[in-house]
Subunit: 316 residues, 3 copies
Amino acid sequence: MTEQLRPDGSLRHLLTLETLTRSQIERLLERSQSFVRPLGESPPRSAALAGRTVANLFTEPSTRTRVSFELAAKRLGATAVNLEVQLSSRVKGESMLDTVYTLQSLHVDTFVIRDAQPGVPGLVATHVAPHVSVLSAGEAHLSHPTQGLLDALTVYQRKQRFAGLAIAIVGDIRHSRVARSAWHAFSRLGVSDLRIAAPAALMPDAEEFQDCSRHTQLASALRGADVVMMLRIQRERMGAADLPEDEEYFAAWGLTAERLALARRDAIVMHPQPMNRGIEIASDVADGPQSVIRDQVRNGVAVRMAVLAEVLGAHA
Amino acid sequence: MTEQLRPDGSLRHLLTLETLTRSQIERLLERSQSFVRPLGESPPRSAALAGRTVANLFTEPSTRTRVSFELAAKRLGATAVNLEVQLSSRVKGESMLDTVYTLQSLHVDTFVIRDAQPGVPGLVATHVAPHVSVLSAGEAHLSHPTQGLLDALTVYQRKQRFAGLAIAIVGDIRHSRVARSAWHAFSRLGVSDLRIAAPAALMPDAEEFQDCSRHTQLASALRGADVVMMLRIQRERMGAADLPEDEEYFAAWGLTAERLALARRDAIVMHPQPMNRGIEIASDVADGPQSVIRDQVRNGVAVRMAVLAEVLGAHA
Amino acid sequence: MTEQLRPDGSLRHLLTLETLTRSQIERLLERSQSFVRPLGESPPRSAALAGRTVANLFTEPSTRTRVSFELAAKRLGATAVNLEVQLSSRVKGESMLDTVYTLQSLHVDTFVIRDAQPGVPGLVATHVAPHVSVLSAGEAHLSHPTQGLLDALTVYQRKQRFAGLAIAIVGDIRHSRVARSAWHAFSRLGVSDLRIAAPAALMPDAEEFQDCSRHTQLASALRGADVVMMLRIQRERMGAADLPEDEEYFAAWGLTAERLALARRDAIVMHPQPMNRGIEIASDVADGPQSVIRDQVRNGVAVRMAVLAEVLGAHA
């Protein structure tokens, strides 16, 4: 696993939350919180990253995450460039690295990388020059660390603690990098009652999520939960094998107001988006008073500002 | 129809010129004029919109209008992001709004929207938070308000008045949002002799353009006109039904120097672009001394600066 | 050929190096050098081009050159917009110019143009307003002047002279704008021993490269060379006619460590990228101690800053 820290212990890359300590994650959350502004107020801005150049290399489509990183960089005064390179498909191994070396020679000092292939962000991180940082914006089904941080920040804003919380993650856990990064964050932050709930075909292998209880029914996962995190069902996988169609999925696994009532009265509802309303979540729940889905997005840009400031050593 | 004004009467959204008063339009034109610079001089710049974030959501291809809005935003100090979302085709109803809510949560406070489907800018405008503005950059065949303003500004620069002018709009009126917004503007600004001219198949229904005279021959529309506004013929519609081929269209409806001589000697020639030279307009007319087509483009960025400054309450 | 200079002798357009004098090229190289920073240092930044607008019109895919120009413009304080227009294929002649006129009316004052068709940058240059500059970012097989400058700068940084150097350009000379611009630069700068080496099918016609010696074997071109510039083989052309397959090409023309030993001990290895490792160049040579390939990229952004500052008359 690629080393994420510099010799002095500071964060250089952010590829996964799995190897961070609790205090490192807490530091990032605190810094993120300092960048949060209520909707309607101006976002924070500074020149902390003036002279820095951030390249967004996204090889999977992503409006939300790409714009979130782009705005985070610009609001800290950095120059941001977007590239539509096909890192994994078009080019392999060394020639992918040639693209990275080229950008590095143009004084790009931060790479934000999303790729469907496992290992790409880490491979880049091991090859760039010592002053260059790599941030994963989503790596295969494995890791999406800024999403994990924004999920943790969202929970903390509403609950002011992690200890003693019951958190249920529901849906396609098996293929979800969001679930894995949330699990890493919550687990490290001391959430003791972590639950994953999915149809058998979407449940991860036994060696993963070992400190989570496993639920094959939605009801038992929801009962008494403080936080319900719904995952996107990827329709393209539906209908195959023993997977149910949309309507059946909603009937068995969709989060309705009625089912949400099984959770604690003050439970919050999260979703990483994009949502399939009427499949994994009912519209009235997505837009209801317990939903913090838009907070997650707002926190996302704050987290990305914090991570950029942290790895670039900036005091913003 | 979506309310465009705030309770205090100030402009919040710009979706159509149809419901604006004459003095509101005049105010926008005056403000636009203050941003006009001659070709070769530096464009005006300010930090009036520093901290603001403008998202360009274009679901129809548009180089000119997208770049014009992007430059207008940047020259006022705003951060601009471009998105290639497919609002109307890929996603419908609620999920389109989810994309908008997401961007709003990233502190986007102005949406510039172009969409081929009627109602999309208005739908977004009714759902965004109170501090957020929506500007239409072209809505189906219905409305293109900044184009209407730039057309009016272009006329005023050359004629110094609207009263008493004879203005002929020629071509595919039926499918043209440009024609409708120009009609709204000129009509409100007191142009009394408004003429539309088109082959029967491209003439709008009788309940529209009621204060305009209708011409089924080019000559009668041009005679004595102060302003001749030619519209783009969309070739993909040509050849169908009772529509003529390119050459026939040019023979019957193309603006040649000879025909332009029917208009007043100081008549100006306008075209929203892109032009089909040799179909709706002869090249020597497009580039001739009476053409103000490039002025229209220059005025476009000034109008967009004015509208951005106006809806965002900025004193630039 | 389009005049590149203003009446006062200053550089207005950069379309080719062919018509520049030695002292004009030297001036550009000196200015470029002032923008070079070591990897890991912040790139130079200034507000010299504040208020200027640079439009990148690339009709051929180009990550490296487009980002290089974009960063050069932004680091000098200009506003940069990227356009994906299809100048040569979609539109022809006059309507291509309409796109340019439109951008010019939006106060774009510098066009950076890459096009596969000969003559496009020059055609645009002859039609824009007097205050507007056009920079070629690659014109068909004919010219890539900023690449020629960065190649010359790279050589000078390592050799501190041009006189007395032996420079070998190897590969698909016939189709290469990189080779032609390098030839123009080196020839003008006084390199006396210029060599081109290629299989017969990739050798240019006799009237070109007249001051270069021609080599149909790699070995003779390399012997005693101070600089070895390898060109990219375009695989899409391989296999046709009398051209060898990849392996055969590498066997006959690939630059290996063994072959490089034929050159001077302190010879440098250059490549404009993207590289086909294992076809025209062995990986260990591309990454070896004699390679200056990444220096070329770094110098590229410095050259583009210098050219922008020069044509826009800015003192950065």
